[in-house]
């Protein structure tokens, strides 16, 4: 298989009124063509920052960033902004943003907003672009007349489908989905998940699926990477990670998911997510870790390989 996206030592710091916030610290992973990777972690752990870095839409208050993002072998952080805009943005990499409910401009028609990237890249008119939008809408199960609707006239599920249509309009190789179902109710969530699976199968899309819900990720992802406090703590095939979680955080995360069957009540993770302005020393998880030992406080664990899985925990060193 060919590597599509190679993230190497990505680090992103923000300047806030309290100080420097280390949102992403030394994150590396690879994504192959047509592969779906889940990026799992609590909110505020840096998942969205990684997505924004790939989209090159990080907010203005980034004060430090380093690392490489190789897309098809080329570092897309290093190329000029104009070239990124002309060749990569939305044409090769697109994104479904978190909170689809507010992702549409309330005063423009849905179809028009979906067609905009197409109109701009091919320099065609709205009349000409409409056919393509209609085709995509029917593929995603949206009635054709939705084109003429305004955002407030659509349900959450319909908006999410329209967002997907917008992300797919230029037929990209990689789509980043940032919590694509979290604002939807469960039955609509299932519909969207099924739609995503179909797209993955039919279009050969590579996807980065960002979620805080590890079971949801297991439903669609080939591989799963778990983030904690800005760091990647575990990375491996979905099956491996789910059946045999190595990092104490991943274990806790899985144990915290309620199950329909089984006599075990869901556990909770003691403590609260760390403050990324003053992250804990050593392993960032040590204050909440059930198996913590002395070295965890002083030594920052590197990524260890344990079988096919990589894990950032001193237990495996």
């Amino acid at each position: 298989m060919m590597v599509l996206l190679d993230v190497r030592n990505l680090t992103i710091h923000y300047m806030t009124e309290r100080g420097v916030l280390r949102a992403v610290e030394d994150v590396s992973f690879q994504l192959e063509k047509g592969e779906t990777m889940g990026l799992v972690g609590e909110s505020g752990c840096g998942k969205t920052s990684i997505a924004l870095a790939i989209m090159r839409t990080l907010p203005d208050n980034v004060c430090f960033s380093s690392g490489e993002l190789l897309f098809d072998g080329e570092d897309i952080l290093a190329i000029p902004a104009e070239r990124y805009d002309q060749e990569i943005r939305w044409r090769k990499i697109s994104m479904v943003f978190q909170g689809a409910l507010n992702s549409f401009n309330p005063v423009l028609r849905i179809g028009f907003q979906v067609a905009e990237p197409l109109m701009q890249s091919r320099k065609i008119s709205w009349d000409k672009a409409r056919g393509e939008v209609a085709r995509l809408f029917s593929m995603l199960g949206l009635p054709e007349e939705t084109i003429w609707r305004y955002p407030h006239e659509l349900s959450g599920g319909m908006k999410q489908r329209a967002m997907l249509a917008m992300a797919l309009i230029l037929r990209p190789k990689l789509v980043i989905l940032d919590e694509p179902t979290s604002a939807l109710d469960v039955s609509v969530q299932t519909q969207i998940m099924n739609l995503l699976k179909r797209l993955k199968r039919d279009m050969g899309l590579a996807m980065i699926f960002i979620t805080h819900d590890i079971t949801l990720a297991s439903d669609i992802c080939d591989r799963i990477s778990v983030m904690y406090a800005g760091e990647l703590v575990e990375l491996g095939d979905a099956d491996d990670v789910l059946t045999n979680p190595l990092h104490p955080y991943t274990r806790k995360l899985l144990a915290a998911t309620p199950r329909l069957r089984g006599d075990r009540p869901p556990e909770y993770i003691p403590g609260s997510p760390p403050d990324l302005v003053n992250p804990p020393s050593g392993c960032r998880f040590h204050p909440r870790c059930p198996v913590m030992f002395d070295r965890c406080i002083s030594v920052r664990p590197p990524m260890f390989s344990s079988g096919r899985v990589k894990v950032r925990c001193l237990l495996y060193g």
Binding site: Y14, M15, T16, E17, P59, D60, N61
Partner: protein, 473 residues
């Protein structure tokens, strides 16, 4: 305000500026409240007699700092200790009023005021002369202290409480000046002398050819001689006023009012109007809004309809109408501003309350059976309190502006002189067309600064009210 909110508020320079300004205005207002008489408006400010001995339309005295030729300052010389002499059966009391005159221009007017006189025999004789620095003595005024009526018995009292002689407008003064000039070989017609007035003739150099252009600088002595028949004939005091061409910190207006006094008095008036109006408007508006949002149903319907209608009324025309029909009074203005001003806040507060009401902790409190008033005061009100406070502060300048505008239209409350009224008079009497800047700029600047103070405060409160606006950086 809890400590955290206070820190956020205090962290912005706008809040600091606002607090500082408000504190200074409060101090000035307190000073005025303590030192000014209660009937300042009617007895002093709007009483032209009080301001008779002040220069008219004089710029502030600090303009002298910027010019080579110094304009005369206003001078008031008073004495109550005369020199006694006795000769030929007459008792002379000489009130000596001396002053140094070092200005490049003549005074604007001269006047003398005499305190109560008492006598037992014939009416005493009064003699007023001026000794110039060049040694010449100018006779000014001669008179007896009235006549004794047949039915009167001693002691006779005159000039009670005081007698003012406006030397610059007195016919007798002009006559004696004409005589004085003639004695010094200057021949001028009575009309010319009257036009020039004592303020020029006394204070200009005299040469053989006539009245000079230059001001005679040096020590002047005004002698008020009171000549009585008995030892007990007495004049309490004498006051000589050299009308300046500059006055005080803020100058004077057309009738000689010390503008600094009016400007100071404007502080408590503006704060009073602004704060009373905003406190009333905000408390009515927010409590109706909370009721409307929380109780709902018929109450909500009625409150919303009424505020919708009130919200659509143009305020200034109605304010004009009401103050025109009724007697202009500050309380009427405040009342109208409150009656027509609460509706906007009600609508906003209602929508916030509806939002808060649907939040989990409020629903939890409801399901626990907490009484309605308790939920409102414990849960709903604290949430919207900062917003209401900000609104209250923000509505203050509009009340101040409304009063100023009405005053400017001539509908001000005469018992409470305000900055708007000062500007009304300056505009009405054409002060702007002759460039009396000291009469026009300061009152307006104070209106703007007062308004700005409250705007700065509400800007400073903004990050407390809507944390969403707090910057990331």
């Amino acid at each position: 305000m809890p400590a955290r909110e206070w820190r956020v508020f205090w962290s912005s320079p706008t809040s600091k500026a606002g607090v500082l300004l408000l504190a200074s205005m409060t101090i000035v207002s307190l000073y005025v409240l303590i030192t000014y008489p209660q009937d300042f408006g009617l007895r002093i400010w709007n009483n032209p007699g009080y301001w008779a001995d002040y220069p008219k339309e004089a710029p502030p005295s600090w303009v002298n700092l910027f010019t080579a030729d110094k304009l005369p300052e206003h001078m008031v010389i008073l004495t109550d200790s005369p020199a006694y002499t006795y000769s030929d059966g007459q008792y002379y009391k000489v009130y000596r009023l001396d002053f140094q005159y070092e200005y490049s221009d003549t005074p604007s007017f001269l006047s003398i005021t005499l305190g109560p006189a008492i006598f037992y025999g014939r009416p005493p004789y009064l003699e007023i002369t001026v000794e110039r620095p060049d040694g010449l003595t100018v006779p000014l005024y001669f008179a007896t202290a009235g006549t004794v009526l047949p039915e009167e018995t001693p002691p006779y009292r005159r000039f009670d409480p005081s007698q003012r002689i406006f030397l610059s407008g007195e016919e007798q003064v002009a006559r004696s000046l004409q005589l004085f000039l003639r004695m010094n070989n200057v021949d001028l017609s009575y009309n010319d002398v009257a036009r020039l007035g004592p303020e020029r003739i006394i204070f200009l150099e005299l040469s053989g050819e006539g009245l000079g252009e230059r001001v005679l600088k040096g020590r002047y002595i005004v002698n008020v001689v009171f000549i009585g028949d008995t030892h007990d004939d007495n004049l309490s005091w004498a006051k000589f006023v050299v009308g300046g061409k500059v006055y005080g910190l803020s100058g004077t207006d057309r009738i000689g009012r010390d503008l600094a006094a009016g400007l100071l008095f404007g502080f408590p008036v503006a704060l009073l109007i602004g704060l009373v109006t905003s406190v009333l408007t905000t408390s009515i508006g927010s409590s109706l809004g909370i009721m409307s949002g929380y109780i709902g149903g018929r109450v909500d319907e009625i409150i919303q309809r009424v505020s919708d209608i009130l919200n659509n009324i143009p305020l200034l025309p109605l304010l004009i109408f009401f103050t025109f029909i009724f007697k202009p009074s500050i309380w009427l203005i405040v009342m109208i501003l409150v009656v027509f001003g609460w509706s906007g806040l009600t609508i906003v507060v209602r929508s916030i309350v509806l939002q808060v009401k649907s939040e989990q902790y409020v629903e939890a409190a409801v399901s626990l059976g907490a009484p309605r008033w308790r939920i409102m005061s414990r849960h709903v009100f604290p949430r919207i309190a900062p917003f209401i406070l900000a609104q209250m502060i923000l509505s203050t300048p509009s009340a101040i502006l409304a009063e100023a505008s009405l005053s400017f239209l001539g509908l001000g409350d005469p018992s409470l002189p305000s900055w708007g009224q000062m500007l009304d008079y300056s505009f009405r009497s054409g002060g702007v067309n002759i460039g009396l800047w000291w009469w026009i700029i300061p009152p307006g600047v104070l209106i703007v600064v007062t308004g700005l103070t409250f705007i700065l405060l509400s800007l400073g409160l903004e990050p407390v009210v809507s944390p969403r606006l707090r910057r990331m950086r």
